[in-house]
């Protein structure tokens, strides 16, 4: 076989990554169910993984090519394939061993359109995986996220979990039966209200009783890092979808305590953005610069889009 023929058959993507754990963390953040189908899109800029739920919730994980030690992209267009997210994460997890750096190579497609993964850092011990892929059956709905007004309505919170979790805790404190409370919450919705003056975010839960929590920007500066809002808006979101946007972040990410940014767009579309470090889990963080921020190249971006509930 001539070398040109080999080149012609080069796979769409061959990439190497030196931090499996970072990738596991990033992908786990969008894993809100045990069995979930994901669509993976490859491009010269990196890898995007998309997960959806009932047309109301979409999550995207952006793994930019800069995250990879090696990124060889040979495809025309943007190849897409479907894969089971759970299997993919569990499988990647097998490559990560505590206390060891684990360099892996990912290739797509294999001879039978599989996703191929193998460890490349040791000669005499090798871990390998082949994951069956499928043709993505649905074209994922594109979210055309547009700002609602002239300036975006956003706020950035530390540990976005806090407001929701504490809401639940408070409901329990008020004497609600725990199971009852979750049952109501899972089937119910949470209203998010932003108002510019005084700058305030309000979470309102309605069940057989209601609960309202206000986060006034000036009072909760430790929690609410940034707030931009020039007109009052109010939208309702399914609680289970809101929970999915935050509850699966690995604890290591929460410990990092970067802010999570929430933006409300046109039609009440809620965008939740998280940053997950994909740096090597070495003792020192060589990628942290003097200001204490990690270089953007070592960050995976995660975005959730939640459709607001339409009032009847």
């Amino acid at each position: 076989m001539s070398s040109s023929a080999v080149e012609a058959e080069a796979p769409d993507l061959v990439c190497q990554l030196d931090s499996v754990q970072g990738m596991v963390d990033a992908l786990s953040a969008v894993r809100w169910k045990r069995h979930q189908d994901a669509v993976v899109e490859l491009s010269e800029h990196g890898v995007v993984l998309i997960v959806e739920d009932t047309g109301c919730l979409q999550a995207k994980v952006y793994l930019q090519r800069e995250l990879f030690v090696r990124y060889e992209y040979h495809a025309e267009g943007r190849p897409r394939f479907g894969v089971s997210l759970g299997l993919f994460v569990d499988c990647l997890n097998s490559f990560s061993a505590p206390g060891r750096s684990s360099m892996i190579e990912i290739q797509y497609p294999g001879p039978d359109m599989q996703l191929l993964i193998k460890s490349v850092d040791s000669l005499d011990a090798c871990i390998y995986a082949e994951i069956r892929t499928r043709i993505p059956d649905t074209i994922s709905w594109d979210y055309n996220f547009e700002p609602a007004g002239s300036t975006p309505l956003t706020f950035t919170v530390k540990l976005f979990q806090t407001p929701l979790l504490s809401s639940i805790k408070k409901m329990i404190l008020h004497g609600w039966n725990v199971h009852f409370c979750f049952k109501i919450l899972l089937g119910s919705s949470i209203q998010i209200n932003l108002q510019p003056d005084p700058p305030c975010i309000t979470f309102k839960g309605e069940g057989h009783g209601d609960l309202q929590i206000d986060f006034t920007y000036y009072v909760n500066t430790d929690l609410v890092i940034a707030f931009h809002c020039d007109c009052q808006v109010s939208y309702r979101y399914k609680y289970k979808f809101l929970r999915a946007t935050t509850s699966n972040l690995p604890s290591s990410v929460i410990k990092d305590n970067r802010g999570s940014k929430l933006t409300i767009g046109r039609g009440g579309m809620l965008k939740v953005q998280h940053l997950v470090s994909v740096a090597r889990s070495a003792t020192s963080h060589p990628h942290i610069d003097s200001a204490g921020h990690q270089q953007p190249s070592r960050i995976a971006y995660i975005e959730f889009f939640v459709k607001s509930e339409v009032d009847e």
């Binding site: 011990a125 871990i127 082949e130």
Partner: protein, 319 residues
């Protein structure tokens, strides 16, 4: 039927810190088989299709002043709850260290007794631990099954002899932690594990379902028994191709076992063995794991202790 012995300090350490925690992971109930020369802990030899685990000690490894007598050639066997046994040994140790006063002061005696428990009309058998502290003595009774009948003991003895066949090829796994870690994570992906072992020193474990194939290959391991030179053209092949070729050449064997069993057998590392060997028994009848213990401070095998597991094979595979 009489049994009475004193556990030595070394014996207590072996049981409390190493062997009983490991055996506890293998299953709640085990048989304790006592002979004139040996004390043997046996899991799943008579019943069940779980992992067979055999921990055998020469009496000197655990006891001194070892006295046993029975009408069945001085052999006694009974079933015992490993976790209860561990608890009894642990609390005896804590009493010894609390009140102990020199090695002779805190001797731990174990003996077989029959007692009439509260609210019972029939006396019940117990393994009794007697610890003499500085000012007090503590007695703990661990309930045991009725001693096995002559026929049952014979059955146990036969099963034990059958379980001694050694695979023709054994490979040594250098880093069991790595393997354990991998298998723990692998459990998420599937239930059945293909294990192939070659005369070249390759150990290849793999889970294969319709959706995923996930495997690990460890190469150039130390081989004991039948070995062969790895063909040079295999070097650039994938792990799966290498295994297939080795099997077709008759240089490797493959069996399928339960991932859960495999992971359980790895818990034997709680017993802190010095070496671990994997091999496939003749005709692919089981996957055998042999743990080797050195005499402390040397590289010589401690022949007074032996531990090995036999994992049932779910599919005879190609052999």
């Amino acid at each position: 039927m009489k049994f009475k012995a004193f556990l030595t300090e070394h014996g207590v350490n072996l049981l409390e810190r190493r062997f009983l925690p490991a055996l506890d992971k293998m299953g709640k109930i085990c048989h304790l088989f006592l002979t004139r020369d040996h004390a043997i802990f046996l899991h799943n030899l008579l019943n069940g299709d779980g992992v067979q685990c055999i921990a055998q000690f020469r009496k000197e490894a655990l006891f001194d002043d070892y006295r046993i007598s029975s009408q069945n050639e001085d052999r006694i066997a009974f079933a015992i709850d490993v976790s209860l046994l561990l608890r009894a040994v642990r609390s005896s140790v804590s009493i010894c260290t609390e009140f102990g006063n020199g090695p002779s002061a805190n001797r731990l005696q174990i003996k077989l007794v029959k007692k009439l428990p509260l609210n019972c009309t029939q006396p019940m058998p117990f393994l009794t631990f007697e610890t003499k502290g500085y000012k007090s003595a503590v007695i703990q009774d661990v309930p045991i099954s009725k001693p096995l009948s002559r026929a049952q003991v014979l059955e146990l003895q036969t099963a034990l002899e059958l379980a001694q066949d050694i695979p023709r090829t054994l490979v040594q796994v250098p880093d069991s932690n790595q393997l354990q870690n991998f298998v723990e994570r692998m459990k998420q992906v599937g239930d059945l594990l293909n294990v192939s072992i070659s005369k070249y020193g390759d150990l290849h474990v793999q889970i294969s379902t319709t959706l995923i194939t996930l495997g690990a290959e460890f190469r150039k391991l130390l081989v004991i028994g039948e070995q062969a030179e790895a063909p040079s053209d295999d070097r650039n092949q994938s792990a799966q191709t290498r295994s297939e070729r080795a099997i077709s050449r008759g240089d490797a064997q493959r069996v399928q076992v339960s991932v859960k069993h495999f992971s359980r057998s790895l818990h034997c590392h709680l017993a802190k063995p010095d070496c671990t060997f994997y091999g496939i028994a003749p005709h692919g009848s089981c996957l055998t794991v042999i743990f080797q213990f050195f005499i402390p401070g040397t590289h010589q095998t401690d022949k007074s202790i032996s531990l090995h597991c036999r994992l049932p094979v779910l599919d005879p595979g190609s052999s």
